[in-house]
Amino acid sequence: MRLFAPTLKGLSLLMEPHHFFTAQRVLIVAGKGGVGKSAVAGSLALLSAQSGLRTLLVSFDAETIAVPDHEHLEKVIVTPGRALTDYLASKGMGLISRQLAKSGIVELVATTAPGLDDLLVLGRIKAFEKELRADVIIVDGPAAGHAIDLVRAPLQLKRALSSGPIAQQADEVLAMLADGNRCKIMMVTTPAMTPVQETVEAATELRDDVHIVLAPVVINKCEQEVPSIDTNGLPQELVDAYLYATQRATAQHDAIATLKTSLDLPQLAITRHRCEGVELVNAIVKELAEVLEKLS
């Protein structure tokens, strides 16, 4: 498709993301609270749909960011707390599972095999991938800090349970996670030292333990460059403000440099937008399309 890009100039925006999104079928977007993970995941999904790919956006939380509708975009919510009852229902034990849920015994099962909910959530995603429900599946990882637990769950369960349907499910999920053509994880961070260090730690752990392949890392909420000026003779509050802005810019620059040296991955920098909701998603989509083009 890239062959045609030079002649179909107006379409080139549609071409490059296409290439990026089809590099794997499942893209898990992960990041700590406050980095804007859901906005990034929603924007990726919308951009993928706009580039003509049938896209599925999987969220764990009904209250995630508003993503505009698109003919190629389907959104599903998978609730971790309900994954076990859903699983039982899928095995023809719907009635029993409702009784179990009511009696609190589902808690017993979940306690017996910690991480079971997480595994079953990944199992649902693996099923979407297997049945080719969409060309591209974007997973808006669970809330703050939990993404690592989620992806590690099958490994932990595998160690705890040697046989049975859960162990088999864990094997199948691990196979998907370790295959870069099927699944990658995309870390989202902000350009400050603490989130960058946490991102590096998490990414390294996922790569080494779960053997998951890392997609380019997103640096969200980047501040604009501060123009260089001579502050001699300026009023004090302007000097103070300028000094503060340049210190912030230096800290941002250092954080991005640290990320580059510690994690050998392409970086997708997104500026900080001062809007929210659909407006924010549209702004990020526009920027993503541009940075993805530069990437390829």
Binding site: G34, A113, Y242
Partner: protein, 369 residues
């Protein structure tokens, strides 16, 4: 002049619980409140669940010391200690403390299900956070415990975890598993046996017999577990405990803060203080509109600086408006709620000095009201 609420809380409370979503600087605020209380002469211990490495480094918290509280090197009339929550170690201590004999304790700790349970992160962690609070609030070295809850939506689960555990241990299925299985499950309650079979099919029979062995070894200890849990619950709901919601001014952080406020209300717990952290600072007295006008009226470096300040003031004004609206909503639930605001520092918290700067801001009188 100082922030009366922050001072009173740091002088009088026996327990302070900070909650908030990730990225708002909750752990830094917990450490800063601890530093301030220590400056006021108190012996403080901050429990943090899962601190960022950089922050742990900032307060000199070594990762490999588990549950052992470590004293922070600061100049204060009181003392500041910090500790992490080691779920496994806390659970082990609890088993040792409550088991009738050392043999029973060993039996529990060697059980495969127990090892899995104490390693897993979710429910057990909440329960152990409550247990750890029980231990530390009975530790004579400290007179104030500050609990930094995990950055999760369910951070307040630990308040309810004692009751959940008690309910679980009383469940008929659990009692059935505990009952001595002379004839195996074949003779067990006919109505419940199929349920056990299903569970066994899902998790495998090895796992289920591990659970049964654990529950049998554990049987009888749960009364002491429950007693401690109820004692913690009583402390948390008493006047000796102050709850603090920490937030940043961004819309997504405020949405999560709203969630915490309504959760506390639902649990019947009074929220004393909101910390608005990471506020973009104001410079000078001009509004963003003034600065925009000055930028167009001037030239060269002056114009550039005014334009830069204009966008910074816009951010600061937007942040103020967001926080003010949030406080107004929250005061609908908690009329006596106080606030403390702290500006975002040019670079993120990385040493005790920046934590002291944060403490000074929190303890200062509130400039804008």
């Amino acid at each position: 002049m100082s922030n009366v609420t922050v001072d009173t809380m740091c002088t009088e409370a026996r327990v302070i619980v900070t909650c908030g979503t990730g990225g708002v600087g909750k752990t830094s605020v917990a450490a800063a409140l601890g530093a301030h209380a220590a400056a006021l002469g108190r012996r403080v211990c901050v429990i943090t669940i899962d601190p960022a490495k950089r922050l742990a480094d900032a307060i000199g918290l070594a990762y490999d010391l588990g549950n052992i509280p470590q004293q922070v090197d600061i100049v204060a009339t009181g003392e500041l200690w910090v500790t992490m929550l080691d779920v496994r170690e806390t659970f082990d201590n609890l088993v040792r403390d409550t088991s009738p004999t050392p043999e029973r304790a060993r039996e529990v700790m060697e059980n495969s299900f127990y090892r899995n349970l104490s390693r897993s992160l979710s429910g057990t962690r909440d329960y152990m956070a409550a247990e750890r609070l029980y231990e530390l609030s009975n530790d004579e070295r400290f007179d104030l415990i500050i609990v930094d809850t995990p950055p999760s939506r369910n951070a307040l689960d630990f308040l309810e975890s004692p009751e959940r555990l008690a309910r679980f241990l009383k469940h008929p299925i659990v009692r059935l598993l505990v009952a001595p299985s002379r004839g195996g499950l074949r003779f067990a309650n006919a109505a419940l046996t199929p349920v056990l079979k299903i569970i066994s099919n899902i998790v495998g029979s090895d796992a289920l017999s591990g659970v049964a062995a654990f529950l049998r070894a554990f049987d009888g200890m749960e009364n002491e577990f429950a007693r401690r849990a109820l004692s913690v619950a009583a402390t948390l709901r008493s006047n000796a405990t102050s709850f603090v919601v920490v937030t940043a001014p961004s819309p997504d952080a405020l949405k999560e803060a709203d969630h915490f406020v309504s959760e506390l209300d639902r649990l019947g717990i009074t929220l004393r203080l909101v910390v608005a952290n990471r506020m973009p600072p104001h410079f000078g007295t001009g509004t963003s509109e003034d600065e925009h006008r000055l930028a167009t009226e001037s030239t060269g470096a002056l114009a550039v600086a005014h334009a830069l300040l204009a966008t910074m003031q816009e951010d600061a004004e937007q942040a103020d408006a967001g926080i003010t609206a949030f406080l107004e909503r929250s005061r609908g639930r908690f009329a006596d709620l106080s606030e403390a605001r702290a500006n975002e520092l040019p670079s993120d918290i990385h040493d005790m000095e920046s934590i002291s700067l944060l403490a000074q801001q929190l303890a200062a009188p509130q400039p804008r009201q």
